[in-house]
């Protein structure tokens, strides 16, 4: 074998390996949606179980074509802010780059992975609004969040040329900001306009517990979701192929899958243990705490000491319950699954943690090292990028009468009224 043949062989194998890696990460991420579906259906009362599931399926189904239509282009075109850069046609759906090409083995699988990130972001929002959002309104808002809002934030802070990265050294390798904070705050904005389910609050302001119909389904869903997140987190690393010889993080700095393995598992266990302790053994919060433990570690998932990731996870497990209670008591929202607390609050804490405990880590090229000010600016940007469109768009939809299921349909049950179905034979 000549040197040239060897070079072709190595490059070909690296490209095929890269394709295969992201292909399977994408498949694993679909399991997140199995988990979200089971979790939310279980957390729903029996009369709305089918419509909850339909909503999850739609979040998945609508995200794929819309992310192909404009989501991927937004990610590539807006790293500088609100003015798109000239990509010479790359990334728009009527360009050949958005179809199979022999010279490009990367675009399809990267687009697929990002599409599943988008589906995940929309599904985070989904759980908060169950049992009283109109299905059509949800589908529209999911498209706005999944194919526009989060990916714009990703272009700014989860892209090697994003302005938050190149100007401020923002470091958020596993999307604590653009996915979890944006989705959590978007959900918060919508919840303020959507209002609680009928019967959630009494006239004196006290709350009623509207328990879901299957705790077992929610358990299995949450654990399934955690399995799927290994695909999500794995796809957050870049397989640099034969050019750079290994893994880099999304900003181009050296990284290892081992760092993700250490810190994901340690954060997960810390979150479960913290929530077990704080909730005095409530299994719903234990599982949610595990997720929160991963999300609080996400910003620095490539650089944490695993013991510290465990401590961060434990903090997340303890924080989510009082944060959720405060949000409910203060704003009278009805976040059925604690999404604002688990994703929004822990995403914010995750980004700030990098600034507080991991400042000075070198980045690639001319990107400034991680620093507290950069993390604060990134956190505020992500929070506002999620909250403002969520609040404003849902406010307009509320005024147009296109947001909330009427009270008499809620009382009768959405499944029977709108879908003419029942989840169970009674």
């Amino acid at each position: 074998m000549t040197l040239e043949e060897l070079n072709v062989f190595v490059t070909t194998q690296a490209n095929v390996g890269m394709e295969a890696y992201y292909w399977w990460c994408t498949g694993l991420m679909i399991i997140i949606h199995v988990g979200f579906l089971m979790y939310e259906v279980g957390a729903t009362r029996m009369k709305n179980a089918v419509s909850s599931g339909v909503k999850n399926l739609l979040a998945f189904a609508f995200m794929i074509p819309t992310f192909w239509l404009f989501g991927w282009w937004i990610y590539l075109a807006f790293p500088g802010g609100f003015v798109p850069i000239d990509l010479e046609g790359y990334g728009v759906p009527w360009n050949v780059s958005m179809g199979p090409m022999l010279s490009d083995q990367a675009t399809g699988v990267f687009w697929a992975a990002f599409t599943l990130f988008a589906c995940t972001t929309a599904s985070i929002f989904s759980g908060a609004v169950i049992e009283r959002i109109r299905i059509s309104a949800f589908a529209f808002l999911a498209v706005i969040l999944g194919s526009v809002v989060w990916i714009l934030a990703a272009s700014w802070g989860w892209h090697p040329d994003g302005w938050l990265v190149t100007r401020f050294g923002f470091h958020d390798v596993a999307a604590a900001g653009c996915v979890h904070t944006v989705a959590g705050l978007f959900a918060f904005g919508v919840l303020l306009n959507l209002g609680p389910r009928v019967g959630k609050y009494n006239d004196d302001g006290s709350a009623n517990e509207l328990e879901g119909h299957s705790l077992v389904l929610s358990f299995i869903g949450l654990l399934t979701l955690i399995v799927g997140f290994f695909g999500f987190l794995g796809a957050c690393l870049i397989w640099a192929g034969s050019d750079l010889g290994g893994w880099v993080n999304i900003y181009g700095a050296p990284a290892t899958l081992s760092s993700f393995a250490f810190n994901t598992l340690m954060g997960l266990s810390g979150g479960m243990i913290g929530a077990f302790w704080w909730s005095k053994g409530n299994p719903f919060w234990m599982m949610s705490g595990g997720l929160a433990g991963i999300f609080i570690c996400a910003g620095g998932l490539d650089i944490w000491y695993p013991g510290f990731a465990f401590i961060l996870g434990t903090i997340a497990g303890c924080v989510i319950i009082p944060a959720n209670n405060w949000l409910h008591n203060t704003f009278k929202i009805d976040d059925c699954v604690g999404a604002v607390s688990i994703h929004g609050v822990c995403g914010i804490l995750g980004m700030l943690s990098v600034g507080l405990f991991a400042s000075g880590f070198p980045a690639a090229g001319d990107i400034p090292p991680s620093n507290l000010m950069g993390q604060i600016i990134g956190t505020v940007t992500m929070a506002l990028t999620g909250f403002i469109p969520g609040y404003v768009i849902s406010y307009i939809m509320k005024m147009a009468g296109w947001l909330r299921v009427p009270d008499h349909i809620q009382e009768a049950g959405i499944d029977k009224s709108e879908l003419e179905l029942q989840a169970y034979n009674q």
């Binding site: 759906p93 022999l102 109109r134 059509s136 349909i409 709108e418």
Partner: protein, 57 residues
Amino acid sequence: MNTFPGESASWEGVDAYFTWASSSGMLVLFTLVTACICLGVIIAAARHETEVADSNK
């Protein structure tokens, strides 16, 4: 560039290898149809919800 249906039936010099790859008009058409399907289904679902809400009052 190769395309199907089309004159070329060879992998020689091929890069984009999907249906109508050489016809930008067709790609724009399919893009528009995809967008219309997404939007149309959301509008149809919203109408159905409104009708159900009105008929169940």
